[in-house]
Structures are given as C-alpha cells and as structure tokens.
C-alpha cells in the first residue's frame, strides 16, 4: 500500500497514512505510472491487438525489403514489371508443401504474360499501405480541426460546419471517390489518397466534436481560462490530449476502411491504374482469370484481408487500452490459483509460528 511518497515534514505525520490510503485499492493498478504508460501496458496485454501488430509489422517489412522501396533495391530477384518465361504449366505457384517447403522461383505463381505475382503483390501492398497511411493522417487532421472548432466554439460556426459535414456524408463516398479518382486518375497513389481524405474525415469530425462538447464542460477548462489561456491553447493543449483516445482509435478504424475503399476504387478502375499496381488493381486486372488461374486472385485478396484485419485488431486493442472504465475481468482460473497460493502461504506462516 505504498501509493505515494510521504508528504513533506510540515504535512504532519499521522496525516500521511490516511491520505495515502484513501484510494489505495484503486491506485494499486496505476501506481507510479503516467497515463501513457498505463495505456501502453493495457495495449501490450491485449492479445488480439498484439497479434495484429506483429503480423502487420511482418507484412510491412516483407513488402518493403523484398522488392525494395524507390531506388533502394530489395532481396527478391524479380521486379513487378519484368516479363519472364512461364515456368510451371499456366504459371501456377512453385510454392509446395510436398516434402518440406519448396519456395521455388515463383512462389505465388505467374500470370499469362510471365509477371512474377509475388513481386506484384508486394508492390501492390506497398501502394495500398501508402494510401492507407496518407488517408489516415490527412483525414484525421481535417476531422480534428473541423470537429474541435465546431465543438469548442459552438453557435453559428458549429451549425455551419456540421451541416457541411452532413452534406459530405450524404453523398456516397464511393461516388465522390470515383469522380475525384477519375479527375486525378492515373496519378500517383498520393494524389488518390489526398482525394479520398477529402471525403473520409466526416466521422472523425463528428466524434471529435462530441468529445469536445463534453470536455468543455469539465472544470479544468474553466481553470485554464481563469489562468489566462487563449482559446487556441485551451483547444489544443488542454482538450485535445484528453480526446486522444477517441482520435487514435478512430484513426486506425479509418485506415482499415481506407484500404478497402482504395481496393474498391481500384477494382472499379478509378483508382491506381496499370502499369502501376495496387492490391485492388491486381484483383481488377485478374478477375477474368478467376476460374482458370485462381492464384492470381487469391494472393492479393489474402493480403487485403490480412492488412484490414490487423489494423482493425490494433484499433480494438487501442480502444480497450484507452477506456479506463474497461476493467480486465480476471478469469475464474487465475482467481482460484491466486486463492490457492494465498491459502498455501498462510498455511506456511502458521506452520512457522506453530
């Protein structure tokens, strides 16, 4: 029950015991940790999120090192655009689990003109991840600024911004995306990502506004105002860090939906177009081969699913970690084990005394 260091001598001796014990039980869990450390610890305990983070890290490392990034060469022998002689019949994958794992020259197979599918999937993964990150950052920033202004200043500005948000929401994202995509179509994935960010910030803006509306009623906002803080400082120094949980969680979920949105647009032919590749574009390109060469379809599909799942799991883990009301309910088994241990230790103590 040592929750805090003793008070200074002037504080009085008998005071310490009472004051430190006041909420000892609740503090036991958070003893000596900053808010960030607590969140981290809870996140690390979340099995699903940790698995998601590890798998995502593997995917990122694999995609960037295998075929290289920009001018940096990778360790894989082929590039996405190289035309090679078709090795197996119809270009089927050389990966086999017969006796031991054989990787071969084209583990994910080849298409009919001889592209190495592994290299193309890696390139597609890079592009899709890039789009995901840019959308995540940009849409979050737009959403935060609009939501914070609306929630903090309220009144007419709030009405104006929220009606604008409603307007953006009512138009189907995929349609705006298609139009914007066609405008900037064929351009780099960054341009596509910026275009998509302009339509995906809405949910973030609404969440941040809601959070700010409740935060501005908290007394520490009044306290900051009395201390002489300006509106900008109150908004971004005092209120924003308190809304960070909601923001991070929503950002990860936004990223997961962004990767699916990019896939959908590319599949429809409005996103990234050949000769560049993204995962969605690969599926689009190979959809006709679905019956004859299923590997052309399944490998990019698998990576889309893996990335989207990982990001969603991480988002779930973050949501749980940031929500202090969510207590980990211990399992019956671990509770019983602790009880047995306790019983054993008291028995030992009795023996020693006896």
């Amino acid at each position: 029950m040592t929750t805090s260091t003793p008070l200074s001598p002037q504080g009085g001796e008998h005071h310490d015991a009472v004051e430190t014990n006041e909420n000892a039980l609740e503090l036991k869990e958070v003893e000596g940790l900053s808010q960030g450390r607590i969140v981290l610890r809870r996140f690390l305990r979340h099995r699903g999120a940790m698995a998601g983070a590890v798998v995502l890290a593997i995917v990122v490392v694999l995609a960037t090192t295998s075929i290289g990034w920009g001018p940096i060469p990778g360790w894989w022998k082929y590039t996405p655009t190289q035309l090679l002689p078709v090795e197996n019949a119809g270009g089927s994958p050389t990966l086999s689990f017969g006796d031991g794992i054989t990787i071969g020259n084209h583990p994910m197979g080849q298409d009919n003109v001889g592209h190495d599918v592994f290299a193309r999937v890696m390139r597609g993964t890079q592009q899709s991840l890039l789009v995901m990150v840019v959308i995540g950052l940009l849409a979050t920033t737009i959403g935060i600024v609009i939501g914070a202004l609306a929630g903090f200043l309220r009144g007419r500005l709030d009405n104006l911004l929220m009606r604008f948000t409603d307007m953006v929401i009512t138009i189907p994202t995929i349609m705006i995306g298609a139009i914007l995509g066609a405008w900037v179509g064929g351009a780099s994935p960054i341009t596509l990502a910026i275009a998509l960010s302009l339509v995906t910030w809405t949910s973030m803006a609404r969440l941040v506004r809601g959070e700010f509306l409740s935060l501005r009623e908290r007394e520490f906002v009044d306290a900051a105002r009395v201390a002489g803080a300006s509106n900008g400082r109150i908004m971004f120094k005092h209120m924003l860090p308190n809304a960070v949980g909601v923001i991070i969680v929503n950002t990860t979920l936004l990223m997961a939906s962004a990767i699916l949105l990019e896939t959908a647009l590319s599949y429809l032919g409005f996103g990234i177009v050949a000769p560049d590749v993204s995962l969605g574009q690969l599926i689009n390109e190979y959809q006709t081969a679905f019956a004859t060469r299923p590997w052309l379809f399944w490998w990019p599909g698998l990576f889309i699913v893996i990335i989207a799942l990982c990001v969603n799991f991480i988002g779930d883990g973050l949501r749980d970690a940031f929500d202090p009301r969510q207590r980990r309910i211990p399992t019956r088994r671990s509770m019983a084990r602790a009880a047995r241990r306790e019983a054993a230790s008291t028995a030992v103590r009795v023996d020693v005394r006896g």
């Binding site: 805090s4 003793p6 036991k28 808010q35 005092h238 207590r327």
Partner: protein, 642 residues
C-alpha cells in the same frame, strides 16, 4: 402515547409544509397511531437510544466476514474479519472514510460485489447463510428480505418507468399479487413515506419529483416487501441539508413502525448521531471500534475514532455551543470567538476610500435561454461586499445560485444586470482583454479537484500555467516558483511530475489551491473546495486554507453548503436562497441570532455529531417548523383547506 405522538406528528407537518400537499395527511394519523401501537406491543420505546432492542434475537449475524478484490494477480482485502449483529428495530451505523470497505462489506451480503470480488466468512440472515448463495437463491433474498436504499435516487430509479411501476414490479416479483392490489399497496407505501398526493405521485416519473421526494419513493420501494434488513448506503449524502433533515426524520419515524433492522452506511457523524443505536467504526477494512452511539461519541477508545470525531466540523464549535441551538437561542456570547485565528477584525472594509475586493450591487446573473426555453435567472439582484483581506462565507442549498455568483466573479459567467466590481473594475459588459487583466487579481478553487485538473498534464505544469501564460516566470525561475507553491500547500517537490490520477483527493485539492495562489490573487473564490473530501482530509485542507489566508491575506468568498465549515473560516456570512440573499451579517449574529426564517431553518437542519445535543436540536427544529406552520396556517387559506 403522548411521547410517540409528539415525535410522529411533526413529520406530517413537515411534508405538508415543504411539499404543500394537504391530502398527504388525510389517512396519515390513523396509520401512525397503528404504528405506534405495534411498537408499543413489542414493548419498545420510541425514543432513539433504546436499550430494549438489545435483548431481541439478532436478524443478521455476521461472523468473520471478509471481502477481497482480485487486482493484478493477487487478492487484496477490502474488508477483513468483520463481526457484528443487527437486531430488529435497531439502527447500526457503519462509519468510515472512503475506501474503508464499509460499502463493499454490506453489498457482499446481497452478492452485489463486482466480478473481481469475493466474500468469505459467514453472514446469517435469520439463521440463513447469505455468503456463497447461488445467483438464483440470492434474487429471492434481494428486495424481499434485504432491501437497499442507494445514495443517489436519480440514478437508482429507472428514469423511463413511473415510480408506481417500479414498486409494483418489486411487489409482483416476490408475491403472488394482482396488478390492482399491487398498485393499491404501492399507493399505501408512498403514503407511508409521506410522499405528497400518493394517488397522483404513483404515476409520476422520477424526474418529475424533487430530490427529497425521489429518495422517499426509493425508500417506499425498499419497504415494499417488508424486508427484515434494510441497508441504507449514504441515504442522505446527495441531498441538501434541509431535505436531509426530513429524510432522517422519516427514517427515524419508520424504524418505529416497521420491525426491521437497519444498517446505515455513512461518513457523516451528524447523521450517525441523529439515527444510530450502535456504531461500528471501520478503517482499512477492519472494525477498529464498535459500541453504542453513546459510547462512541462520548467515550471513544480507539485513537482513530477520536481523530475522526475531532475532524468533524461542529456547528457552534466556534461561536459557542449553547448559542446555536437550532437558531432559537438568545444566550450571551461565549469566549469561543477569540480562540479562532481567522476572525481577525475587518479593518480595510470599513475604511473610507478603500476599494473593496468585491462589490456587488443589484447583481443579476442569467443562464441564457435556448430556442423556446426562456433565460433562467440564477441570481436575482443581490448586494454583497467583501473588504480587503476579509473572508465571507456564502451558504445556501444547491440551486440557490451561490456557485453562480462565484463563477461570475472570475468572469466565467457574464453579468446580466446590476453591477459587480472586482477590485474597483466593473465586470458588467467587460471585454476579454480587461478580463484577462482582472484575472491576475482574482482566482478560483473549484469544487471537484478530480475534474478541475487536466488529467493529461503533470501537476507541476498545471500549477505553473498561470505564471507561464502571463510571462511572469520562465525556465529556472518558473521551476522555483512551482516548488515554492508546492511547499506552501505542504506537498513534496518531487510530486510535480505526477499526474492527477496518482494523487489522493486531498492532495489534488492542495494542487488546486496552489494553482489558485500562483498569481498571489487579492481575491480568492473557493467554491465548495472540501465538499468532495473525506472529513479528516477536509479538516486538514481547511487548516491549510486558514494558514495560507493568514500568510497571504487575500480576501475570500468561501462558498459552501456546510454551515459548520463556513463557521470555522468566515468573519461574515451571507445566506442565499433561491437567487437572493436571505440574510447577511457578522458570523456570530447569523449563527446566534438569525433574523430570517430560512436561515433559522437551515441552521436547525444541520445535524451535529453528538447524540444528546442532536436530540435537543431535533426537538427544537420540530418546534420551529410547528411555529412556522402555525403562522402559515393563519395567513394561508391553502393550509386551512387541509
């Protein structure tokens, strides 16, 4: 019979007076007389300190009861090895500070522990073991044999159902009873708890009732199945002092009518003195002392009990005990006044030409209306002056507008009419630039230290923020000033890097005070700074506050609902009621010879932590209400109609 009559009668008048419901008493007397007969039949006197109850067989026998919580892979005890008995018609008070395990140990009787909690030991209700019952067995016990009155009636009653529906539901769960009969019984129960117009109230939703009425409705629900044991978990903590007095009266009245044992969980020694027969004092999960109310209050053995009793602010302790007998006393002044350091003579305020720290004339503050909702006038034309270095207490019930005045004084709310001058500067229609300048001289300590500190900022940054924003200090100098401020409020310097959630309530409020003092303000608004704290912590924060006030000599508007706290600190007291100031004047005059009826009612309602004195005060209060009612009866045709 005369005795029981005298105790029971005023209660009906209380309800008549406060809720203006003449029909409430229509069937009341009959019921009460019956109740009195029943208790007489048991050979049980109606007065509180009844020795006769001790001879009955206990309905609840608790032996070796312990509650543990599973935290971080180990079982931590919240309550250890508790033994106690509760007999029918007896009130057992469990007293302790927050975290002492008083609530959890009682909730474990009903199996209402959180999922990571467990109970061990034994608790027998009329011979039936409660610890270790299955979920199904427990639900037949809950509500029927053991009922609970919760702290916050607004959250404990379901807002989407009528009060009647909720009582009927309880009844029909446990008894084979038709809907009509159940409803009739619900009306009967509401009448039992003196809810006005029970036939109509039965169809009201919780939000249509006042706080006190809601608590009455909840008590009615708890009584629905004639429980053997009633657990009252801080039943009056969320209520205003005058409403609290009424609920306490109701509970005292009820225990003579129903024959169940009552476990009263509270931290308020005044409530204990008013109601309890026997008292258990808990600390760190253990019972440190148990005994009759008389023993605990008059001959406490354990040092902790003594400390706890000493920490309770006692109304009348400063201006002399005999004087504050329910505001009716006219006794001569005692020497108690001079012993208090804060009651320094107020020189500056009277000096001609000196600018008072705060001067309000006809001050009006409104909360603006929204759409069709009209503006709400929270403060309606008050005059208030605080001289330099003077501490003025502002007391009143919740909703009286006292906090509104405080917030307007620091410019958090605009002045709608009249004038308010802070250090000579007019606050009415002030611009944001001037407001910034004025806030150098006026500061505020908020009520809830948990909410008023930014949870994401280390406390050192919170304290230093006013200095940093005014560019008064920077870098090393700022560090030094922060450390000075921490020293002043007796916090260790090393704590500056901690976050608010790592501190206890008392430490957080010290941080709040340090931040308010950072700019050495001339006027400090203290908005109920101790109401969220435990008594012993409150006592130390008040000591600190007095010490700082002596050192710095700032003027202070001390807002509180607790007259005993205000008495310790202030030299003058203003009493607010419904947005106006009912009475203001020097402390001794307000406490000893109040002129206004409301002030008198307020003073009379405060329970004092001494059973004998509280009994006298209670009777005086009943007399006071009787007098007032009689006076109203003459003038009001309304009361005559009853």
């Amino acid at each position: 019979m005369r005795l029981s009559g005298s105790i029971i009668r005023p209660s009906s008048q209380t309800s008549l007076h406060t809720t203006s419901a003449p029909t409430a008493t229509a069937d009341g007397p009959l019921e009460r007389v019956e109740g009195a007969h029943v208790t007489k039949g048991h050979g049980q006197p109606v007065v509180t300190d009844a020795p006769a109850v001790g001879t009955k067989t206990p309905i609840l026998e608790v032996r070796g009861l312990g509650v543990d919580f599973f935290v971080d892979g180990e079982w931590l005890p919240a309550a250890i090895d508790m033994d106690y008995d509760v007999r029918p018609g007896e009130v057992l008070a469990i007293v302790g500070e927050s975290g002492s395990g008083k609530t959890q140990s009682s909730m474990s009787l009903l199996g209402l522990l959180p999922q990571n909690g467990r109970a061990k030991g034994s608790a027998k209700l009329a011979g039936r073991e409660l610890v270790g019952l299955s979920h199904k067995q427990l639900s037949s016990v809950r509500g029927k044999e053991v009922a609970v009155i919760f702290q916050e009636p607004m959250t404990a009653l379901n807002p989407v159902y009528t009060v009647g529906f909720q009582i009927v539901e309880t009844l029909r769960t446990h008894f084979d009873i038709g809907p009509k009969a159940a409803r009739a019984r619900a009306v009967e129960l509401l009448r039992l708890v003196d809810l006005p117009q029970p036939e109509k109230s039965v169809d009201k939703y919780p939000h249509q009732l006042s706080g006190g009425q809601r608590q009455r409705a909840m008590i009615a629900q708890a009584l629905a199945c004639d429980p053997k044991l009633l657990i009252a978990d801080e039943p009056t903590t969320a209520l205003d002092v005058t409403v609290q007095a009424e609920i306490l009266k109701l509970m005292r009245d009820l225990r003579t009518r129903i024959d169940s044992g009552i476990v009263l969980i509270t931290h308020d020694m005044g409530v204990v003195a008013d109601l309890a027969d026997r008292v258990i004092v808990m600390r760190h999960g253990r019972i440190v002392e148990a005994g009759s109310a008389d023993e605990i209050f008059n001959r406490p053995q354990h040092p902790y009990t003594k400390q706890l009793l000493d920490a309770v602010p006692h109304l009348g302790a400063t201006v002399g005990d005999s004087a504050v007998d329910a505001g009716l006393g006219t006794g001569p002044a005692t020497s108690g006044t001079t012993a208090v350091p804060v009651s320094r003579p107020v020189v500056a305020a009277q000096e001609p030409g000196a600018v008072p720290a705060l001067e309000a004339k006809g001050l009006v503050i409104e909360y603006p209306g929204r759409g069709r909702v009209p503006a709400f006038r929270a403060v309606d034309g008050i005059d208030l002056t605080i001289g330099r270095g003077e501490v003025v207490g502002l007391v009143g019930e919740s909703g009286s507008g006292k906090t509104t005045v405080g917030r307007a004084a620091v410019g958090l709310l605009p002045v709608a009419g009249g004038s308010m001058k802070i250090g000579g500067h007019e606050m009415s229609g002030i611009g944001s630039k001037e407001l910034r300048d004025i806030r150098r001289d006026v500061s505020i300590v908020f009520q809830d230290p948990g909410s008023s500190l930014n949870p994401r900022l280390p406390i050192g940054e919170s304290i230093g923020e006013p200095l940093k924003l005014r560019k008064l200090a920077n870098g090393a100098e700022l560090n030094k000033r922060i450390e000075d401020l921490l020293d002043q409020v007796h916090l260790e310097r090393g704590m500056r890097n901690r976050y608010p959630h790592e501190l206890s309530g008392g430490q957080r409020q010290r941080v709040g005070i340090a931040r308010a003092l950072a700019l050495s303000p001339k006027l400090l608004i203290a908005d109920e700074p101790t109401s969220a704290l435990d008594v012993s912590v409150q006592a130390r924060v008040l000591d600190l506050f007095q010490e700082l006030q002596r050192e710095h000599g700032f003027a202070c508007l001390f807002i509180s609902h607790d007259l005993a706290v205000v008495e310790i600190l202030s030299s003058r007291i203003a009493v607010m009621h419904k947005g106006t100031i009912a009475e203001q004047g020097p402390r001794d005059q307000i406490l000893r010879a109040p002129k206004d009826d409301y002030t008198r009612r307020l003073l009379a309602a405060v329970p004092v932590p001494d059973p004998a004195e509280q009994k006298i005060r209670r009777e005086a209060r009943d007399r006071l209400l009787e007098q007032e009612l009689a006076r109203q009866g003459v003038t009001s045709t309304y009361a005559g109609g009853a």
